[in-house]
């Protein structure tokens, strides 16, 4: 019996030494032994082979899938004016009594039915559909036996992911987080000096690198000459909390957010000891002036790190960029836009917070194949003359969407949880009324 436990202890020790030497030390010092690269090459080849096999077996279905993921129906992009004009073409305009015809409702009816069948917004709050299956159970809706080889590879994949990779990744993540807390607290004891800044940056980057290894993350950074500098604000599209790990692997940022309790709170408090982050109490978040002031103060202090903000305010599924909240664009600082695009083949990075808690989300991440993403640093942008915060925010949003190959939407990400405000309906009514009664409509001021 004792031998058994001695054996187990011995195995655990070997396991830890292996991890330490092969993964952690290279991560800490920023060089790579090529293990992850080999894994990724094998993985890519396997997935390509699987896709080919599935395609051969189900040529017709794959076509349906591919077409359908672009949308089910052809949306008429004509404006209300154009469509109603066409509907009314068949009759002369009456001199009195408004320009209403019974066919006007066709336009609204068709638009309504179109949105019931396929709408632009609700699909952004669930995971993206894949064109071809990537050998994960979670992305396959109805399992159909295709070939013995494929099923074997699929089974092997499950074993590798759950029994080898997941424990490894969980260990790394725990080590990374613990080291973050210990390291930043330790650095916090030093007096403010250049060494402290340098050490704090090193500790932060090191821990994020370990966490990135803990997710088998392969990150490609593009245009690194545009990296955010001190005194600026970095804005990026938001897909999941892992975005922070992705970005912080390549630089140090000051975080903004609400202080949480529990484990998150411990991490937050430790981090703020070594370098200034902007944490708010829950009550303070409601006071917009206070928030703006604190951000302004941070930005104006040129020794402090650039702030990292996700203006969408919520996680979107990485196929589109939704409305940017104007708060960060009112501060008047230099904005450094960053576009993040995950490759869905290797694992779905989107955090559907209504479906999964944080912990189950992280476990799902750790049992995916890997995390592959591209990060593009865009050139800095400033608010131009005569441009208000909303227009500036939209300009930045378009740049990010264009670079990342994402759809640029005007809708508010808050629609995930809240209903549409009545003012949207009023806008439609206003537009329509101007077509019916012309400019002498008695519109209420809004």
């Amino acid at each position: 019996m004792e031998d058994f436990w001695a054996g187990v202890l011995w195995a655990i020790r070997i396991w830890l030494y292996l991890i330490l030497s092969l993964i952690m030390i290279p991560a800490m010092f920023g060089f790579s032994l090529g293990i992850s690269e080999t894994y990724m090459t094998i993985l890519v080849k396997t997935l390509e082979w699987a896709a080919l096999n599935i395609q051969k077996a189900n040529a017709e279905d794959v076509k349906v899938r591919a077409a359908a993921s672009n949308g089910l129906i052809q949306r008429e992009d004509g404006s209300m004016e154009k469509e109603l004009e066409e509907l009314r073409r068949s009759r002369p305009k009456p001199p009195v009594g408004g320009d209403f015809t019974l066919s006007d409702c066709f336009y609204f009816t068709r638009r309504g039915i179109e949105s019931i069948v396929d709408d632009e917004v609700t699909q952004r709050f669930t995971s993206e559909e894949l064109v071809s299956w990537n050998l994960l159970t979670r992305t396959h809706n109805d399992f159909q036996y295709i070939s013995l080889k494929l099923t074997l590879v699929y089974g092997l994949g499950i074993f590798v992911r759950y029994c080898i990779l997941a424990p490894l990744r969980i260990t790394l993540a725990c080590i990374g987080l613990t080291w973050l807390v210990i390291g930043t607290s330790a650095v916090g004891f030093l007096p403010n000096c250049r060494v402290k800044f340098w050490l704090s940056e090193w500790v932060h980057v090191m821990c994020y690198r370990i966490c990135a290894r803990g997710l088998s993350a392969t990150i490609h950074y593009h245009n690194r000459e545009n990296r955010p500098k001190k005194g600026g604000i970095c804005v990026a599209n938001h897909t999941s909390p892992i975005d922070i790990v992705i970005l912080c692997n390549d630089g140090c940022y000051a975080m903004v957010g609400q202080i949480h309790g529990g484990l998150m709170g411990i991490v937050q408090r430790a981090m703020v000891r070594s370098c200034p982050h902007v944490w708010f109490e829950r009550s303070e978040m409601k006071d917009r002036h206070l928030v703006t002031k604190r951000l302004k103060d941070h930005v104006n202090d040129k020794t402090k790190l650039p702030i990292l903000i996700f203006p969408e305010g919520t996680c979107i599924n990485n196929t589109s960029v939704m409305m940017f909240k104007k708060g960060s664009f009112e501060i008047g600082a230099t904005i450094y836009p960053v576009a993040i695009k995950y490759d869905p083949k290797f694992g779905d990075a989107f955090w559907n917070s209504s479906k999964y808690s944080m912990v189950s989300y992280l476990l799902r991440m750790m049992t995916s194949w890997a995390l592959v993403c591209n990060v593009w640093y865009l050139p800095a942008m400033h608010q131009e003359e005569g441009e208000d915060a909303v227009q500036f925010a939209n300009r930045v949003k378009s740049a990010i969407a264009h670079q990342g190959g994402l759809v640029d939407l005007q809708w508010d990400g808050g629609l995930k949880r809240a209903k549409v405000k009545d003012s949207f309906k009023e806008q439609q009514q206003k537009k329509y009324s101007s077509m019916v009664v012309g400019d002498d409509s008695s519109s209420n001021s809004d």
Partner: protein
């Protein structure tokens, strides 16, 4: 993914719906997935709250009316067959279909499309759009943007134009006559991507 017919087995009454509505198997499958997507609590049927979760529908002035068209009178839920049967009205009309006399009129014929639109106006289903019903729709579409007088004058003129038998209401025949020049197929159809 298996062959299309085996996936269609997951759709309740799949074959029958295909024949009734004229949707292809692929389209029916996609509509079923959309139905399941809207049915967030997995009940197997939709309630009006599920429709209200679509932001583009909430901003539509007659959104509530359109949602109401899915529910049979007195019903509070929509199952998949009813869902598809309503959507079948919006398939583009097939031009060259000649049908035997005994076959029922397809859902996407010009007449059925017109009837669907007529029912949006004629809420109480008495076969006529009364002045009150017309005022209701106008109020929904125009909101608070027009005064009561303007609304009345618009309704007056609309009824005057369409009402041929002078009973101060618009029957379905009068409705159809007043829209005979409109390209209904184009305006009340949704083109499904192949």
């Amino acid at each position: 993914m298996g062959s299309s017919s085996s996936s269609l087995n997951n759709v309740p009454d799949g074959q029958q719906l295909m024949q009734e509505t004229g949707f292809s198997a692929a389209h029916l499958l996609r509509l079923y997935e959309r139905f399941k997507f809207l049915d967030k609590d997995n009940r197997g049927h939709l309630r009006s709250e599920d429709f209200e979760a679509v932001p583009e529908l909430s901003e539509n002035p007659i959104g509530d009316r359109i949602v109401g068209a899915f529910f049979l009178p007195g019903q509070e839920t929509v199952d998949f067959s009813s869902f598809v049967r309503v959507l079948a009205h919006f398939r583009p009309t097939e031009k060259n279909r000649t049908r035997a006399g005994a076959q029922p009129e397809p859902a996407n014929s010009r007449n059925r499309k017109l009837k669907f639109a007529f029912r949006l106006y004629d809420r109480d289903r008495d076969g006529k759009i009364s002045r009150t019903e017309l005022l209701q729709v106008l109020r929904e579409m125009l909101g608070m943007q027009v005064t009561e007088e303007q609304l009345q004058s618009i309704a007056d003129r609309a009824i005057q134009e369409a009402d041929l038998d002078k009973d101060d209401a618009i029957s379905f025949d009068e409705f159809r006559k007043s829209l005979e020049k409109v390209n209904i197929d184009h305006k009340m159809s949704i083109r499904f991507l192949e």
